[in-house]
Amino acid sequence: MFPRMSTIIPMLTEPFVQRALLAALFLGPVCALLGVFVIARRMAFFSDTVSHSALAGVALGFWWGFAEPTIPMVGFTLVVAVAMMWLMEKTDLLTDTILALLLSGSVALGVIILSLLHGRNYQGELNRYLFGDILAVGWEDVGLAGSLLVVVGVGVFLNLSSLTLLAAQEEMAHVCGVPVRRLNYLFVIVLTLTVALSIRLLGIILVTSLIVIPPAAARSLSRNLRQQIILSIVFGLLAGAGGTLLACELDLPCGPTIVMTCVGFFLLSLGIGKLRQEKTARAGVA
């Protein structure tokens, strides 16, 4: 069932496996690191909306004649993310309403354009983006993922205190001198770029899980934020790399396999966390 060393090593000589594995090794920790702040700020639905809006970006890219629609996809998701922020700031609409509106609107637009372009055969193209396609990961995607890892890693650790204050209370962050509005927009833009660049590997539907599940798994085993951040990154890294290798070995779709690896880590840490709690409670009673 699980890959053995003897099968992993020849597999690693395949260029498409190398590309997918490197992309997963870069994107797993980035998603998991941002995820700590995404779940703290209850922004999982926000990330889901951004990822779904990518479908319209992809469809528009094909329509405009792009063979590889990465640029229109990233561009469109950024427009949707900034539109979301603007609507939240300037209107009385509930956040959920804004997100649902943009999510379903983008998906509908994307499906209509794809069906106009490909006729009744648009589902094949749609599936590649909905669930990810390991063969679609090119060297330029790997380069972008690597650059993202460096930029996000350095950016988050340089602004760790400000991001943490922002997650705790915006007014307090303001009093402490944090440029709240600027940092909010910056965080949303970085999150959007990460989501958009992870879609090739994981797919529109599944990308949010690599952001949300590692920090949720880390939570059960952490006593403080430092531990949660470190464990989340480790889970992201292991789920990304382990899931990709499993998918290649077992000939399974890559995105869903990475997600199920994340779920496995989550269940494991939940169990360990509960056992640890019971042990502490028993020690307290004794």
Binding site: V36, I39, A40, R41, R42, F157, L160, S161, T164, L165, A167, A168, Q169, E170, E171, M172, H174, V175, C176, G177, P215, A216, R219, S222, R223, N224, L225, R226, Q227, Q228, I229
Partner: protein, 259 residues
Amino acid sequence: MSAACCQSHNTTPVEVRDLRVAFDGQPVLRGVTFSIPHGQLVALIGPNGCGKTTLLRCLLGLQKPTSGEIKLFGQSNLKLALPRIGYVPQRLALDRSFVLSVREFLALRLRRTRNWFWQSRATTDRLLHETLADIGVEGLLDRPLARLSGGQLQRVLIAFSLLTRPELLLLDEPTAGVDTPGEESFYGLIANVQRKHHLTVVLVSHDLSMVYKHASHVYALNGVICCEGTPEHVLNAESLKQAYGIHVSPYEHHHPHAH
């Protein structure tokens, strides 16, 4: 601290002149004027929707007034006054899935502990120690912030706001969600801290009995300042009716004490 004290004696901590704020054309503050001298514990009372929180947000520079003027320590650019201000909110927006410990939270406030991620616990504790001993939160340092009781969280928020040794402390209904004994000890703590550090404190509160006991000056707000003065002067049936628009029982003052 002493240099800051001398400086603050020369400038009034809070001056507000004819402050007006409207939301969608609906006036919330309709010409508020007051000033708070150094070293007072001032309470801002009034019914829901009277503009207390809007006024506090204006003082923090989070809400742009429609017209009027605010000066903090003689400074119209409120951003420049922020380092001299401590702020205690009603609550934090923390999700329980965010395992921020009290130690890490407190470390966010000081420049020298802002690298908490890379610092050892002992180093962070040593740098935080001086203020923590005052407030009595040393026993809570390892606890996750999102799992504290209302009273414990308020103590931590006070400790957080005092770390930079502010001259002006702004508190927005700080005991919402805290039980009565917790409230009593919280207000006692604020009064102690105010005396010890010669702070100016502005407290938005619903709790008239605590205001009566601890405040040195009270402003009753209802779009405008309806009345102001000592707690004995403001917290009587007539003044409260002016502020709240309905009859509110004044606080019965049984125990004589000096304010």
